[in-house]
Amino acid sequence: MDRAILSGNEAIARGAYEAGVKVASAYPGTPSTEILENVINYREIDASWAPNEKVALEVAIGASFGGARALACMKHVGVNVAADPLFTLSYTGVRGGLVLVVADDPEMHSSQNEQDSRNYAKFAKIPMLEPADSEECKEFTRLAFDLSEKFDTPVMLRSVTRISHGKSIVTLGERVDNLPAPALVKDAAKLVMLPGNARVRHPKVEERIVNLSDWAVTATINRSEMRSVELGVICSGVVYQYVREILPQASILKLGMVHPLPHDLIRDFASKVKTLLVIEELDPFIEEQVKAMGLPVIGKALFSLCGELSPGRIHSVLEQGGLLPKSVIAPIAAEKLPPRPPNMCPGCSHRGVFYLLNRLNAYVTGDIGCYTLGFLPPLNAMDTCVCMGASISTASGIVRSLPREEQQRVVAVIGDSTFMHTGVNSLMEMAWNQSPATVLILDNSITAMTGRQETPASGFTLNGDPAPKINIAELCRALGIKNVVTVDPYDLVATRAVLEAEMQRPEPSVIITNRPCCLIKGECRFEKGKILAVDQNKCTGCKACLRLGCPAIEWQPSSDGKKGKTYIDPLLCTGCTVCQQLCKFDAIN
């Protein structure tokens, strides 16, 4: 058997291939993005990006209704967008197996919240599997499709950042080839969710979860590992690995299925150990259910509801709780060092725009993407950021609460991919209700933050094939926005003039910037300009160029007590000329 080191995401893609999946759809979102990017390595699967997670899940639902096995992938907050179809899909059930992969991000490495998706499985009354390494990612994906068809249910597979972006060894298998051929079959009572039909389906959902609970007791993915009876730990996913690391002698009930729970297995395990612990990240999801069974258990009384766990964090909590002896080694205290937060790239087309928004004292309702970094100093030009698409609708709401002179300061900033995701609906509202705010669409021709994925307006599909390209300006006009201006964000004078004019206008307007992301490779969509240098004789050390926060521009203090000067790193400069336009002394050329 072939073995390979795969990330959790690569292994889920492999599992989908081996399970005979025919259709896969997703919207990119860290830490889930690489699943679909790896699915395209398997030509047997029709894989594509959708404009948002709701659409992605509905594409998968359609494929399932056609009789094919279908996969949808998203990050945790994406499930909020896809929740509408998800909850009714629970009632219809499936024809071909359907698996929804959700990648949670405890610790918020790259997210705006750390909601615990296990609650969705309980809420929607569907099973959820949680793998603990890449091998399980692949095997559980395969199993999820079997379960989906066996119990006529969508199945959620939950990953977390440490699983999706962790790698471990996987044994590769073959693709199943005995699945029934997809075909149209009329089954309105099951698939048309009108009240009359839905009332018949709901009891089946309740019955299904009981049957799944019975299955969970015998399932080998839920296993009890008996070692010392002093301490028993119930855990799942990556936390299982941490517990093995920190408590090698403890007995463990490892749950591969986190919803529904195997009650008899839990009761049996609890009866065999003297102290029962649940160790889980985020919510007391398992703990509360174990408590509801009437079993004495320790969980969030010790462990935090916030952030991710790690071997070290579990160790120190158990130390403080008296369940582990105090360690003798005192850790080296971390000292204060210059921090290194993420930053927009040198040459990023967003930088000059945020500089201007700061100078114009705009109140910026922001959105989700690289440009959220416009919040950071020295640009300091973002005032709100809630969720995908919210920039436009919150701007629309905020102007309605303000007097006219304050309304003029409100600018919504959104990227092209986020605009396509849910910003379009928001702009529809703004146009319809004539909210006097300015919308700035930073069109860099790509979904940049997640690693450069195509969008409906970039002209290519997930596979890199040419595709129809939505004209964003025409779309805005079609929605009813009369004032639509396109501007080159590298031209500060022109961009400033457009911003000032549109901000003063007492009706909705849209400004679109048109420079591609400087990291786009392949089709030469981004071109470097002439690399710039600071003339050390002309530089007066006024620091105007430093206000851009460009990683290529460095302050060089003088050693002889005189004023310092700036320096441009020629390896980082892309020649965007934005700093050159800020220099009043003609020192950058």
Partner: protein, 192 residues
Amino acid sequence: MNDKVTNILLVGVGGQGTLLASEILSETFMLAGFDVKKSEIHGMSQRGGSVVSHVRFGRQVASPTVPEGEGDVLFGFELLEAYRYLPLLHAGAKVVVNDYRIPPPSVLLGQEVYPDDLADRIRSRFPDFLLVDGLHLATDAGNPKAANTVLLGAVSKRLEIAEEHWLAALKKMVPAKALEVNIRAFQMGRAL
């Protein structure tokens, strides 16, 4: 083969190539017959932020992340980042760092100073410390872009894995046209 798991941390600045280096390490350990796990963060921190990859190998590895204070080897791509992550190591750990500085935003803006004695400070705490002029050596090997491979060679010398597995992993992970330069860079690092 004993049960001890070896813990390696690769630290640097987003975009420096820590990911590829950690892939080559993992591949090597798998080829040498070990269980391997690795963990890293993608996404937001890629944008010029501080990054850390964990690679662990042994007969059987549980956690994909290195337990705090148990790092055996630190593979630093940048001095300040190497220094930042020293608390993850145990007292006898081996440290290999590229002699390369990337000023963080506060230093670029002139608000803070990039400490100039980091190498000495690392050496005083970790006697098994090697500072590598990766860029210079890689240029000698034929391409300044192979600096990470020089570092990899130096790290390889500090791990008990046969050279054949390193070379096989390089052959698998490095594009064919860059292989010769990278093998030369690797050997130069290994000779340090």
